[in-house]
């Protein structure tokens, strides 16, 4: 066997100091040489654990082999065979806990950089637009499917069903399609041009996109079925922000991460006053939470001119759910981490603006239901962090709007829609669900996987009814 090459090629990135001042993409992507060197490290092991690690089962060794052979159209074809949004997934998937963690070379500490290669191939495809022959879509058979929500789940379900010959309409409540890809994940991590290209692709398949259409208000699921849609797919995500429920939370200067990121990403407040929507940036900003949403909020705040940005997290670094790469990026950009710290109350001045946050030190106890060690407050350790802005990034749950206006739909106490884990079929006739609305906040790739399985089941159902 050839000697193992453990020299994982790092990703070229914008310099940490420089990128603090712009919203341009941080990771710059592999050059051709870098991509080929990285691909050549793959030992094409027979067990192919990476495929099982991928939530949508991409033939990873296959596309890497095509990269080595410089057959880029083939590499792109293999990727797109299982993943219709590779340019997005290559950028935002948590590879370190999916395909890369199980890579045979992972045991030696140098797994193949699968995500970076995926991004490389997808970007090549976007630039070169090869004529990958799409299987000719079958003639529309007249059956109609309504897809609610245009995040990764909705876009995937719509594309799959359109390719199968159904007439698909996407109803989106906001004025722009893309869901979290558009309003949540910032430009410097996922350029919006890429999301737009993916949306255009879905529309090119004949999908009708109806924006400004909030289902549950403009019309209900029952009405969509009554006017002649043969099936409905719910991809409405988990868009309801959670708050800390501690005193002082409604002071001025306190944002939910959803609001902060929506102002910046969807409404482009970072270009105010050219764009009309403003956003406040404090000098000292604390972001509460340890996931991707917290990292994104902190990194936006530093780019918009905050002097100091803290991530306040109640467990330790190890338990943080954010992608490793983004934690490293955040640190390089000067974000400071306060671990084992939990807010107790927010303090304001006479004008109702936040000036500080009283916190408690925490320690880790036994693992809880999530498998992570449970944080326990240490009594008497109160201290105050001075700040003039706080961003609460605790996570989100599904918006109750659809569930409360649809007959016979079942939800859990967390507000997620009850549906079959594999097929996404809800207990309501003709209605499927997939993505965050079914699982609670999860990942782009799992939303896409769920949508794909649901689309297959919808197809199966419509063929027989």
């Amino acid at each position: 066997m050839a000697k193992l090459d453990l020299n994982r090629i790092s990703m070229p990135r914008q310099d940490g100091k420089e990128r603090r001042n712009n919203f341009n993409e941080v990771a710059l992507g592999y050059s051709d040489e870098q991509a080929i060197s990285e691909a050549q490290r793959c030992i094409q092991c027979p067990k192919q654990p990476c495929i099982a690690g991928c939530p949508v089962g991409i033939d990873i060794p296959g596309f890497i082999k095509a990269v080595i052979e410089k057959d880029m159209p083939e590499a792109a074809r293999i990727l797109k065979n299982k993943n219709s949004l590779p340019a997005i997934c290559g950028r935002v998937c948590p590879q370190e806990s999916q395909c890369e963690v199980v890579c045979t070379l992972s045991k030696k500490g140098a797994p193949i950089a699968i995500g970076r290669l995926e991004r490389y191939v997808a970007d090549w495809e976007r630039r070169n637009k090869p004529n990958i022959p799409d299987a000719d879509p079958p003639e529309p058979d007249g059956k109609r499917v309504a897809v609610v929500g245009s995040g990764p789940a909705g876009l995937t379900a719509a594309a799959e069903l359109a390719k199968l010959g159904y007439r698909v309409t996407i109803f989106e409540g906001l004025h722009m399609p893309g869901g979290v890809l558009m309003y949540g994940i910032p430009e410097f991590r996922l350029p919006k041009e890429i999301v737009r290209a993916e949306v255009d692709y879905v529309i090119s398949l004949g999908v009708e996109l109806q924006l400004d259409s909030l289902v549950g208000k403009l019309f209900t699921i029952d009405e969509l079925l009554a006017v002649g849609y043969d099936a409905v797919f719910l991809g409405t995500g988990a868009g309801l922000p959670m708050f800390l429920n501690i005193p002082g939370e409604n002071l001025n200067g306190i944002y939910s991460a959803n609001e902060f990121l929506t102002r910046i990403n969807l409404m482009k407040a970072y270009l105010f006053p050219e764009y009309d929507t403003p956003v406040k940036i404090g000098k000292k900003v604390a972001v509460i939470g340890g996931g991707n949403v917290a990292m994104d909020s902190a990194r936006c705040a530093i780019r918009l001119g905050a002097d100091q940005v803290y991530i306040v997290y109640r467990r330790s670094e190890q338990e943080m759910p954010a992608r490793r790469e983004e934690v490293e990026n955040a640190r390089e950009e000067g974000i400071q981490f306060k671990f084992l710290t939990n807010p107790k109350r927010l303090i304001g001045n006479e004008k109702n603006w936040v000036t500080g946050m009283e916190c408690l030190e925490m320690e880790l106890g036994e693992p809880d239901a999530s498998g992570r060690r449970r944080p326990i407050a240490k009594p008497g350790t109160e201290f105050i962090i001075e700040l003039d802005e706080a961003i609460i990034a605790l996570g989100t749950t599904p918006n109750p709007l659809i569930a409360s206006t649809t007959s016979d739909l079942e939800t859990t106490k967390y507000g997620t829609v009850v549906a079959d884990k594999i097929t996404g079929k809800t207990v309501k006739d003709k209605v499927w669900a997939g993505g965050d609305v079914m699982t609670g906040s999860d990942t782009v790739i799992s939303a896409m996987g769920a949508a794909k399985r649901a689309a297959a089941d919808i197809d199966d159902y419509l063929k027989h009814h």
Binding site: G239, L271, Y275, K351, N352, S404, T406, S407, D408, V418
Partner: protein
């Protein structure tokens, strides 16, 4: 998430009101948001009638739309002042105060508003209460009108009180007079009707022999706060429509959060109407001022650009 969670079964509830659309899916097309009619009601107060057939079919009193003007525009909430199902139109009335409303005021019949989403918010709870007072202050005259109309249709005795700084800022008096059993007009400067604040009239009515079953108040937050203080000692249930700053209007951001009875509520989805005696008015008033500096900067910049282009 575990499997042990017992599911909650939701009862059938049609979207706010249960007018089921019976059209074919093509007919779910939202229409063009085309401006059909523009009326200048007062110096700085304008009315637009828009083509929006599906929305017009769904709106009920107390609900609002969020609109956006141009690709660089912000999302701003405006209440439905009227709607016509037959014509497929909705009517909004707005006061020109900042950048977005200045931009809107420049639009003309034949233009289309980039985005209109709605109907948002929970409709007014219309019942036969008995005698109701509808108080509209300033631009609040517009949103109180459909509520007064619905209350009247539900069999209430409706007394409307409207107020503005001066005669020139009053509008829709005739409309409200036709809808209401009684209309009392006040102006701060006494140029029309009585020269007192609406809260003064409200207090007099609360003190009078007449039994008042419910009060609805819409206007600037400070006016609604004092309406609440006026009716509180009399124990008359008072509903106010909160105008907190909003972004999405769908419950996604929490920007619009208000404290009601010590609990955080989202005005866009839990409201906009709440029990005025339970609202933390000072919190609302201070949250409304969050972007005061940015708003005046934005308007200055917009004016500068406008004068450069003419």
């Amino acid at each position: 998430m575990g499997d042990d969670i017992s599911p909650i079964r939701h009862e059938q509830k049609l979207a706010d009101g249960g007018h089921t659309c019976k059209q074919a899916p093509e007919m779910l097309d939202k229409g063009s948001n085309l401006i059909l009619l523009k009326e200048d009601l007062a110096p700085n107060i304008h009315l637009f009638k828009l083509n929006a057939p599906i929305i017009s079919n769904k709106v009920r009193a107390g609900q609002f739309a969020i609109i956006r003007i141009g690709e660089k525009g912000e999302r701003i909430p405006l209440t439905f002042a009227d709607w016509d199902k037959e014509e497929g139109s909705i009517t909004i009335i707005f006061m020109k105060i900042g950048t977005s409303t200045h931009k809107l005021a420049l639009m003309q019949p034949g233009d289309s508003i980039t985005n209109v989403v709605g109907p948002l918010g929970i409709p007014t709870n219309i019942e036969k209460y008995g005698t109701v007072l509808c108080v509209g202050g300033g631009i609040g005259i517009a949103p109180i009108t459909p509520i007064a109309r619905a209350l009247k249709a539900a069999g209430n005795k409706v007394i409307s009180i409207i107020g503005a700084r001066g005669k020139e800022l009053l509008f829709w008096e005739d409309r409200l007079r036709n809808i209401s059993d009684e209309l009392i007009v006040c102006t701060d400067d006494g140029s029309c009707g009585r020269g007192v604040l609406v809260t003064e009239v409200l207090r007099e009515l609360c003190e009078s022999e007449q039994r008042i079953d419910r009060v609805f108040a819409i206007g600037p937050a400070i006016m609604m706060k004092y309406c609440a203080e006026t009716t509180r000692p009399f124990g008359i249930k008072t509903i106010a429509s909160l105008n907190s700053i909003m972004v999405d209007g769908t419950g996604m951001c929490g920007c619009c959060r208000v404290s009601v009875g010590g609990q955080t509520r989202f005005a866009c989805v839990d409201g906009p109407e709440f029990d005025a005696h339970q609202v933390d008015w000072d919190e609302l008033l201070s949250r409304q001022c969050t972007y005061i500096d940015e708003e005046s900067y934005s308007l200055r910049e917009w004016r500068r650009k406008q004068s450069n282009t003419v």
